[in-house]
């Protein structure tokens, strides 16, 4: 099988890679590009741990082929902070202890970023349904929802 040459943009950087036709974008990010922030919790789109933003759409990178990224724009958790300045969501997740084991955290942060980009002032219910594609087994979601609420509040004021 010949590799497919892909040219894409990841967190603002132009990136080129070769991948196999059956290789998922998640595998490319993790195994070829060393971007291990996105996690594989299920590989079937049921847990959201591999969430990324692809051309302004929140997607599971395990359900995207690496070959599909040609010419597109990808955002991952590694691109959320600016230098040593954490994104408000990252800061709020820390302050509210919205993580215990932390494996789901990159996915939640990306999903929450997408949520707030589309709905800067969500209700609790909108946050809960907006994040329903991300599984967390540690927190019971309480502190995650509070962190997103607080971040939305701060980001609106900014």
């Amino acid at each position: 099988m010949a590799g497919i040459a892909v040219s894409t943009t990841i967190n603002g950087d132009n990136i080129e890679y070769l991948c196999q036709p059956d290789e998922t974008l998640l595998d490319v990010l993790r195994d070829r590009l060393g971007l291990t922030g996105a996690k594989e919790g299920c590989g079937t789109g049921d847990c959201g741990a591999c969430s990324i933003i692809l051309d302004n759409r929140l997607v599971c990178s395990c359900l995207v082929l690496g070959a599909e990224a040609e010419g597109r724009r990808i955002e991952t958790v590694e691109g959320m902070a600016h230098g040593d300045q954490l994104h408000t969501l990252q800061q709020k997740f820390l302050e509210h202890a919205a993580l215990q084991c932390g494996i789901c955290t990159p996915g939640f942060l990306i999903a929450a970023k997408d949520l707030l980009a589309k709905n800067p002032d969500p209700t609790e219910e909108e946050i809960r349904f907006g994040l329903a594609g991300n599984l967390c087994r540690c927190t019971g979601y309480d502190k995650i929802v509070r962190a997103v609420q607080d971040a939305a509040h701060v980001m609106k004021g900014a």
Binding site: Q20, D22, D27, R30, L35, T36, G37, A38, K39, E40, G41, C42, G43, T44, D46, C47, A49, T76, V77, E78, M80, A81, L86, Q90, F93, L94, E95, H96, A97, L99, Q100, C101, G102, I103, C104, T105, P106, L109, E124, E125, I127, R128, F129, L131, A132, G133, N134, L135, C136, R137, C138, T139, G140, Y141, D142, K143, I144, V145, R146
Partner: protein
């Protein structure tokens, strides 16, 4: 070592505050490295071939075709993991579970494994391995497995714990019994008796991170293992024993762990990865798929429990009895035993008897899951207690308060309790606004209590003070939910310095002495005890060094708020010396300053919780919605209250999932039907309300700060609390967990006579 673990009732400066965890930034930026985030040069991809049959003799495994495939570097079967367990039955079971030896005992049981240059080649190689099976009759239901005609899973098992030695083998590996008094007589004094049978289905811990490891065995007999585990020292012991290595030659590093909840306390794939690496001569990375996680790792027992409780008209329980049958998977376990011990632990009982049966079934080997075995027993008992309160016409909280165990009560499992928190949690619940909030149509409120022992165990800590006065804390208990933060607080407290002056890490097995794993709610309890001890040892040295710097007797130096202080009139002119100042001179005063501690943390205080919940039931569909949830639990002392709340909330959420939707569903063919997060339904964000918490602090007398474990108890009450709420909302007693909509609707229809 003269460490005094007794509770001292001191005032705290750091403990009880809520700083940001030291591993936080790495976890929100994606930098933290979990099991599958690590790679080694030349690494191969490992994959495991698993039995599609629930029960089958392995007649022949032909790996020759797979071995010939280009890119395949090693293929192993049980032959490559010879039995080195030397008669250790428990270790033999672990070995057999890692790689089936003569029989496949469940759908998903490993039978062979390959290491290849990439995932695609490894997948193809698995398809080329030919396994000849002789399919045997199987049994997956706990009650059916106890029948005389049930297929026998292991014909060398004769039930232990019976009055007379059995003559025939059985799927029941052990009978255990606990209690005191005379239940027969006790029931004779009862005015009301409730007697019911309950069932709970098998669940999985459901950690989001699949098991993952990277193993590298060198030809010189040393090896390295990177792995997500709750206990890297225990994994080292197990792997070393199964592979015939010396423990010190195997260095195990625990990665960040993406959830465990008891499911990462056993080795599964690690010995296989090591064996593959040994054979291939290259590092091997082995990551389970989600399907493998469900089929081959983790699950709890499925149970069948009979409960009988009697009470006098005044609400005094006169006798309580339970028979508990717990599935163990295909290997012996002690799961029903734990259920039998915990079942009635919340109550003061003159006459109590519990009997547990461990039952073999063709399902994965049962593993611990957060207060293992207690939630199912609590579900049965607390449901019956609620029903009895109703029959008596008593408020369920008052009925429980009247019968709650207290200091001096003989527990149902034997010993007499010290100071405990069941009464206070019940009083707090009685006075909680949640109990008085109005309910709408089709809504019901339920409450229930739960108990867990909590454990301590072997623990080491190294505390090293740098020349700049910053402190590194190396601990050996894996941080599953913020313990590096809580242990830093404890060290800061003891040394009298700022939290920010410390950095805590989890040390690998070559850098620290042996530690038991992070289980039994012991992480913060045990390691905080060792941290306090290490800090006190360091303070002793700091005082000596200060004495040197001042050229006075160490007996004249005390440690106060992070400083050496000279006492006595003749030293009145000496200023304080900070930890930093002493550290800066350490090169001249005797070298590096450190405190070490190796101890057995005993005296973990038992833990109690009481939960309240409101559930709405749609009477037309059986659908449920959790409207409100409150957790009240005794923490002894909450070191980092935010993470204590997190433990309460997380346990409650897991219990809610178990109560309402989570279950292993097996087909008639003995195959697991729902090995994925789509149909194994753990709660999603929109399923839950905020989970309110109330932390009670009844100090544990056996810990300097009064700390009790907090991790597990919160999963014990939810099954029962929700069952009581659903029963109240639907008007029919629910006796089968999970209370999935089809079960609720069927119960409602049956009650209607429909």
């Amino acid at each position: 070592m003269n460490f005094d673990p007794r509770f001292s009732g001191r005032k705290f400066a750091s403990v009880g505050t809520r700083p940001i965890r030291p591993d936080g930034v790495d976890k929100v930026t994606g930098r933290a490295r979990y099991g599958a985030d690590f790679n080694m040069a030349g690494q191969l991809v490992g994959r495991v071939l698993r039995s599609p049959h629930a029960h089958a003799k392995i007649l022949k495994i032909d790996t020759s075709k797979a071995e010939k495939l280009a890119g395949v570097k090693a293929v192993i079967t049980a032959k490559d993991l010879p039995d080195l367990t030397g008669g250790d039955a428990a270790m033999y079971d672990i070995l057999d579970n890692c790689m089936a030896r003569t029989k496949a005992l469940y759908d998903g049981h490993a039978v062979a494994a390959v290491a290849a240059i990439d995932a695609r080649t490894a997948r193809q190689a698995l398809k080329l391995i030919e396994v000849e099976y002789e399919i045997l009759p199987h049994v997956t239901d706990v009650d059916e497995a106890m029948q005389h005609h049930a297929p026998l899973i292991n014909d060398t098992i004769f039930t232990e714990g019976l009055e007379e030695k059995p003559v025939k083998p059985s799927n029941v590996t052990k009978r255990s019994q606990f209690g005191h008094g005379d239940v027969h007589q006790g029931f004779g004094h009862a005015d009301f008796i409730v007697e019911r049978s309950f069932k709970t289905e098998q669940t999985h811990q459901g950690y989001i991170e699949p098991h993952a490891c990277v193993a590298s065995v060198s030809s010189d007999g040393t090896a390295e293992l990177w792995v997500c585990t709750q206990g890297h020292f225990v994994y080292r012991q197990h792997c070393a024993q199964l592979l015939g290595m010396e423990a010190s030659k195997l260095r195990v590093t625990s990665s960040e762990i993406g959830g465990g909840f008891g499911g990462k306390t056993h080795v599964w794939a690690e010995p296989v990865a090591l064996a593959l690496s040994r054979k291939a001569g290259r590092p091997v990375k082995l990551v389970m798929t989600r399907d493998e996680v469900f089929r081959a790792s983790g699950p709890t027992s499925a149970t069948s429990i009979d409960v009988k409780i009697g009470a006098r008209k005044d609400g005094t329980i006169t006798a309580a009895e339970a028979t508990l049958r717990y599935s163990a998977g295909p290997y012996a376990g002690s799961w029903a035993e734990i259920g039998a011990m915990t079942a009635f632990a919340c109550y003061k009982l003159d006459n109590v008897k519990t009997v547990g049966y461990e039952v073999l079934v063709n399902r994965p080997k049962t593993a611990a899951y957060r207060a293992p075995s207690a939630p199912m027993a609590a579900f049965a008992v607390e449901s019956a207690v609620d029903e009895l309160a109703k029959e008596l016409g008593m408020d369920p909280v008052d009925f429980r308060i009247k019968n709650a165990a207290q200091e001096g009560t003989r527990s149902s499992y034997g010993p007499v309790y010290g100071p405990i928190g069941i009464g206070p949690t019940l009083e707090a619940v009685k006075n909680h606004p949640h109990m008085k909030a109005p309910l709408k149509k089709n809504q019901g409120r339920g409450m229930a209590c739960g108990f867990w022992f909590n454990f301590g165990g072997q623990t080491c800590v190294d505390l090293n003070i740098g020349m700049d006065g910053s402190v590194s804390l190396a601990v050996g208990t894996v941080d599953v939910g913020g313990s590096r933060a809580s242990l830093s607080l404890v060290a800061a407290e003891e040394l009298g310095i700022d939290y920010a002056q410390l950095k805590a890490v989890v040390a690998d097995t070559s850098s620290l002495g042996y530690n038991d794993m992070t289980d039994g709610s012991r992480g913060t309890f045990s390691s905080s005890m060792a941290t306090i001890s290490a800090a006190r040892n360091a303070i002793k040295i700091l005082r000596e060094r200060a004495a040197q710097m001042w050229d006075i007797s160490v007996d004249d130096v005390v440690w106060e708020q992070g400083h050496a202080v000279a006492k006595g009139d003749k030293h009145g002119n000496l200023g304080k010396l900070s930890l930093k100042e002493i550290a800066a001179e350490s090169g001249k005063t005797g070298g590096p300053i450190a405190g070490h501690s190796e101890l057995v943390a005993d005296g973990a205080g038992v833990s109690f919780a009481t939960h309240i919940c409101d559930i709405e039931v749609d009477p037309e569909t059986g659908s449920t919605r959790v409207i409100r949830y409150t957790v009240v639990q005794d923490a002894g002392k909450a070191v980092h209250p935010t993470y204590v709340e997190g433990q309460y909330q997380g346990g409650a959420a897991q219990g809610i999932g178990w109560a309402l939707n989570e279950e292993y569903i097996y087909g008639k063919d003995g195959r697991l039907q729902n090995a994925g997060f789509l149909d194994y339904r753990i709660p999603v964000c929109s399923d839950l309300p905020m989970i309110d918490t109330q932390i009670l602090e009844i100090p544990n007398p056996n810990h300097p700060y009064g700390v009790r474990g907090v991790g597990e108890t919160s999963i014990v009450p939810p099954l029962a609390a929700i069952a009581n709420a659903v029963s109240n909302a639907a008007g029919v007693r629910m006796t089968h967990i999970p209370m999935s909509p089809p079960r609720i609707l069927a119960a409602i229809e049956a009650e209607r006579g429909g």
